[in-house]
Point group: C2
Amino acid sequence: MLGLYAYWNGSIIPIEDVKISPLDRGYQFGDGVYEVIRFYAGQLFETGRHLKRLQRSLNELFIPAPINMDELEKTMHALIQQENLAQSDGMIYLQITRGAYPRSHGFPKGPATPNMIMYAQTYPRPDIIEAGAKVILHPDLRWHRVDIKTLNLLGNVLAKQKAEEKGYHEAILHRADVVTEASTANVFIVRKGVIWTHPANEAILNGITRLVVIDLIHSLGIPFVERPFTVDALLTADEVFLTSTTLEVTPVTMIDDLILGEGIPGPLTRKLQEAFTRHMQAHSTSETRRASEETHI
Amino acid sequence: MLGLYAYWNGSIIPIEDVKISPLDRGYQFGDGVYEVIRFYAGQLFETGRHLKRLQRSLNELFIPAPINMDELEKTMHALIQQENLAQSDGMIYLQITRGAYPRSHGFPKGPATPNMIMYAQTYPRPDIIEAGAKVILHPDLRWHRVDIKTLNLLGNVLAKQKAEEKGYHEAILHRADVVTEASTANVFIVRKGVIWTHPANEAILNGITRLVVIDLIHSLGIPFVERPFTVDALLTADEVFLTSTTLEVTPVTMIDDLILGEGIPGPLTRKLQEAFTRHMQAHSTSETRRASEETHI
């Protein structure tokens, strides 16, 4: 459920008081970037990696950061407090655009005035993390810089909508014969005991959960390759799973009309889910300890 | 120069009173469409074709029109009156988004609440229509449905910005070896007396000025093919010109460091510019007459 407040250009105010200009380049061009950061029991998860990626996205679009990253992290905590979500599972949405200017495609001349909005909301763990997800295959129609986490999301929106119209959860995207990622998640497959995922280049968004899961794969000693794989490899995989901030590690049990394996989450997927949960709990604990320590300084 | 007023969801109000929600899907996903419609001496140009394309864009994204197209045209005239632009050259910008909802990629369930903003501004004819434009070549990084006039414009923005950083006016885009269009215009070339332009498929935006110019090419009896052409064909063309609502028919005189032909607008380009101006004047006259006749009913 959406919170009542938002951080808007320096202050926390009621979200309904936020007034975006129709000339905001986020509104007219999608000229901005965003992040979605999970918190569990009020504790932010993998903030450092999210903020590092945010800074990279800003750099790639030549948008100056309107806030320093330490300040930003403090503000996230403040929002969680303000919304009384210190015991809740939820997420922070934050978005930075180039600002409002008379419309012209090239960057505006003169001083930069980026706009930043951020808000918190509760978000329960989706059922499909346990039950498994049904996905459709869909052509990847997106632009060729999806490594930047921008607001140009229509390719994702239309694919996701197609999946939902079929009563499914996600769309796995492919450029010609190569699987890139899903409409809101990265895709991993298991073939003969080896885990595969698309390399982090301009064709995918390098998910934070993707990075966490790759760390876990390495620490569990599971054979792993970061290489493109085909639709055929996907459809004949022993296991398929998705990773994202909200989906964590979600098994795929059905692709279009094809039931994968036995139609239940596979053993390596389960192993990674358990490792992910342990990591998340350990992380939350240490965050809590850190926050608690800071209080005593 | 930007006007003081905007049409916003049914009323004409001061533009600074328009308050876009941060949850508007136009802001979070670029989930919306737009049009830019030119007026000369207060007379709208090719409104019918613009509104037909707008309706098509809405259909492709499954956004219901928040206003019927006749009403929309009347509102454009009202805005021009409100801004005292009845004798001015300018343009109308209009944008329709899917509306504001809690963020989720798939379309919102329940009643549709699209948001529509529209405003008028003065816009003088750019000098480069006479003098010719310098352009860079740039990879076409955009998504694969640019036939829909959506707000997902970062691929255009970044290419245009590259051109402007070099002191140039436009970027001509190519997918691999094929020229598609420019960052804010369509591209035509002349080779041995034949005019070429990319066919209107999902790889280009089917410009209204493109359609007008194709009509003019036919009526002038100039040989014409609507076929893809390569970067090599572009660079060795006898003439190159751009078409768009704001650029009308603009000759290209330089591509990167290559001076085209004699570095001055070519004869077929000039012929089409003259034909375009005649068409535009005839059109404006008849619009004026029609408006005047309507007043007397």
